[in-house]
Symmetry: C2
Subunit: 360 residues, 2 copies
C-alpha cells in the first residue's frame, strides 16, 4: 500500500533542478496533492520556483535544516530525480540520512531501493520513519492472459517520440479535462512519479520483463474498476534504443482503443545522457503514427487520435501555435499543447474520435 | 558462474513429456553436451525416447530411485519444463527434495528460484549439493547505451511467429552449420534452456524490464568477443500479447544486421495455455516480415534474410518440402527446416544474403 496524501514535502533535487532528470520533482510539484515546503538544492538557495513557473511559490533552500526551520515543518523528503539506471547519487546519502534522523519519511522512485539499504533501514527504524520505494514491484508475477476490456470502457494510452517529454503530464491533463466535462475518468500510473501523484499504480519499468505486458493488463483492469475513461500513462518510446521493450509492453498490455502521441517540436535527437555511444534522431511523425497503429494491431486494433505537443522549446506563444497548426496539418490529427494552452479542446477531439472508432 | 559440463543428468518431466512445456527437456537432450541417464516421468515409465526420436537411446523411469540404481549414476536433476509464469508444480517438491538428499545438483530454469526456497536451501546445504537457478538475473543493472557492433562482426537474431516453436534450435543449427563451413560462430543464449546447453548467457525474460534492451546489448558484446558470426537466440514474438515486450528488447538490444524468421506451418493460433482469455491468430508472413524490418529500423537497419520452418506438424517429408517451397515463393526468401533437413543450405543462403547487406 502506498501512503496517501496530502503530505508536507521537501523535494530534493540537489544540483539537478531544471535538467531532464528532475522530472519527478516537477511532476509532483505541478500535479501532486501535497504541500511542497521547499526544494532542497544548494545551487539554487535563496531563489523561488515562481522565477521559473509563475504561480508556484516554493522557496529553494540550501540545507535540510533551512527547510525544517521554516514555517510548516515537512513530514517527508521526496527524491526528485529519475536518473538513467535509477541509482542514488552518492553525495545524497548524507542528506537522506539526516532527513531520516530528523523524522521525515523518504519518498523514493529510484531503482536502488532505500528500504534494502542497511544503513537507511536502521536509521528509519530508530527514527520511526518510513522508507517508501515507489518502484518496488508487486509480488504478483503473471504473464498477460489476453484480457478484453469491459463493455463501455474506453482505454487511451499516451505514446511519444522520446522519453521524458510529457506522456504523464498529457495523461493527467486529459483526465482533468474529462472530469471537467463530467466524464468518469482516471489515469493509470505506470511510473514512480505518477504513483507519487495518484497514490497507486506500478512502476512498469521495474517489473520482471516476462511480466511487463501482464502487469499493464492488470493495471488497466484496475483502471476500468475506477472509471469509464481509462488513460494509461505511457513509458519510453517504440524507437528508443534503451526503453522500447517497456513501451511495447505498455502498448500490448493496455491494448488501448486509441493512442495520443506526445511530441516535442524542436527536439532533434533522443537525449544524449541516455545514449552516450551514438545519436538517434527523433522520428518523422506520419510514418511513426502509422507504425504505432500497425504494432498495436498485432494484438488489438488501435488508432492515434490526437497529437499532444510539448512546446516548451518555443518560448513565444505564437511560435508554439504555429507549430501546433503545422503538425495538425502534417498529421491530419487534432493537435494542441494541453499543458500550455489547456486540455479541454484536445479532450473534446479525443472523445469524439474515440466514440467513432469501429472497435469501441 | 554457471557450472560447465559435461554432466550426468536425470531430466524431470513428470506427466508433461511431449507437451509444449517440456521444451527445456527436449532442448537439452537434443543440443546439450551432457549424458542423459534417464527421463523421470511416471506416466512414461518403461518406454524409451527412441520411440519418439530415433537415435536417442534414453530410458524413461518412474521413480528417482530407478534412475539412481541404473548404470552410470547421475550427478544432477534437471527440471525439464518451462511452464507459463515459471512456477514449480507443487507435486514436484518431494521429487526435488529426494534428489537433493540423494546428492544430486538441481538445475532449474524456473522463475521461482529454488535457491531462495528455505526447505530446498537447507537440504542442499546438508547434502553438499548445488541449486543452480539459470534464470537468476545478473547483478548488472544497466540501460542500453546505443552500442554499435565491432567491425567485421555479423549479428543475426532469430524471430518468430509464436513462442516455443524453435528460435533456439534454429540458432543452434545455424551456428553448427557455420562452424562446419569453417566460420567463427557462436550462439548468444537468452533463455534458460540455451544457457543450460551453452553454459553462459542471461534469461532475458527475467531481467528488470528497464534493462531488457541493455542486457541484450551487453550479451551481444560478449558474443562479439567470442566469434565473428553472432547468432542471438530470440524470445517470444512481436505479436504475442504476453511476451512482445521481451521480443522488442531482443530486436532493439541486439540491433541485428539480419533476422531469420521461424515459423511453424499449420499452427493457426498462439498457444491457448499462454492466453486463456482470447484467441490470437498466427500472422501472415509477408506483412509480418515487413513489420519486423520497420520495427528494427527504428534503431538500426535490419533485414529478414531467411525463413526457418518448424515442419513438425507435417509428418510426411513430401508435405514438409511442399510447405517449404510454398513459403519460399510466398516470401521471396530462402526457406528450409534446418532441424529436419539440415542447416547447411540455410546457412549458405544466410551468409550470402548478410554479406550483401549495405549496412554490413
Amino acid at each position: 500500500m502506498l501512503p496517501t496524501g496530502p503530505r508536507r514535502l521537501v523535494i530534493l533535487t540537489e544540483g539537478q533542478f531544471g535538467i531532464h532528470d528532475a522530472k519527478t520533482a516537477l511532476g509532483v510539484i505541478r500535479y501532486g496533492h501535497d504541500t511542497i515546503v521547499a526544494i532542497l538544492d544548494s545551487t539554487m538557495a535563496g531563489r523561488n520556483l515562481r522565477e521559473f513557473w509563475p504561480g508556484f511559490d516554493i522557496p529553494f533552500v540550501g540545507t535540510l535544516d533551512a527547510a525544517l526551520d521554516g514555517p510548516g515543518r515537512p513530514d517527508g523528503l521526496l527524491i526528485g530525480i529519475a536518473p538513467t539506471g535509477g541509482r542514488l547519487p552518492p553525495a545524497w546519502r548524507s542528506i537522506i540520512r539526516d532527513a531520516i534522523e530528523s523524522g521525515l519519511d523518504i519518498h523514493s522512485g529510484l531503482h536502488q531501493f532505500l528500504g534494502d539499504d542497511p544503513e537507511f533501514a536502521a536509521a528509519a527504524a530508530a527514527a520511526g520513519t518510513r522508507l517508501i520505494d515507489y518502484r518496488r514491484p508487486p509480488e504478483r508475477m503473471e504473464t498477460a492472459v489476453g484480457r478484453r476490456h469491459l463493455p463501455g470502457k474506453r482505454v487511451i494510452l499516451t505514446v511519444a517520440t522520446d522519453c521524458a517529454i510529457g506522456k504523464m503530464s498529457v495523461a493527467l491533463e486529459i483526465v482533468a479535462a474529462a472530469r471537467r466535462d463530467g466524464a468518469s475518468a482516471v489515469m493509470v500510473p505506470t511510473g514512480q512519479t505518477g504513483m507519487m501523484i495518484e497514490g497507486w499504480g506500478v512502476a512498469v519499468d521495474r517489473v520482471i520483463s516476462d511480466f511487463t505486458n501482464g502487469t499493464v493488463e492488470w493495471l488497466v483492469e484496475q483502471g476500468e474498476a475506477r472509471a469509464d475513461w481509462v488513460v494509461v500513462e505511457g513509458q519510453g518510446s517504440i524507437d528508443h534504443p534503451a526503453y522500447s521493450a517497456v513501451t511495447m509492453g505498455l502498448i500490448h498490455g493496455a491494448t488501448p482503443h486509441a493512442m495520443v502521441l506526445v511530441h516535442k517540436p524542436g527536439l532533434r535527437e533522443h537525449e544524449f545522457d541516455h545514449l552516450p555511444e551514438a545519436s538517434f534522431p527523433i522520428a518523422d511523425l506520419a510514418p511513426f503514427i502509422d507504425l504505432h497503429e500497425r504494432i498495436a494491431a498485432l494484438v488489438a486494433p488501435s488508432k492515434v487520435v490526437a497529437v499532444a505537443l510539448n512546446t516548451s522549446l518555443l518560448p513565444d506563444d505564437e511560435d508554439a501555435r504555429a507549430a501546433i497548426a503545422r503538425i495538425a496539418a502534417e498529421t491530419g490529427l487534432p493537435a494542441d499543447d494541453p499543458v500550455r494552452f489547456g486540455a479541454d479542446r484536445l479532450w473534446a477531439a479525443i472523445r469524439g474520435a474515440v466514440e467513432e472508432l469501429p472497435w469501441v
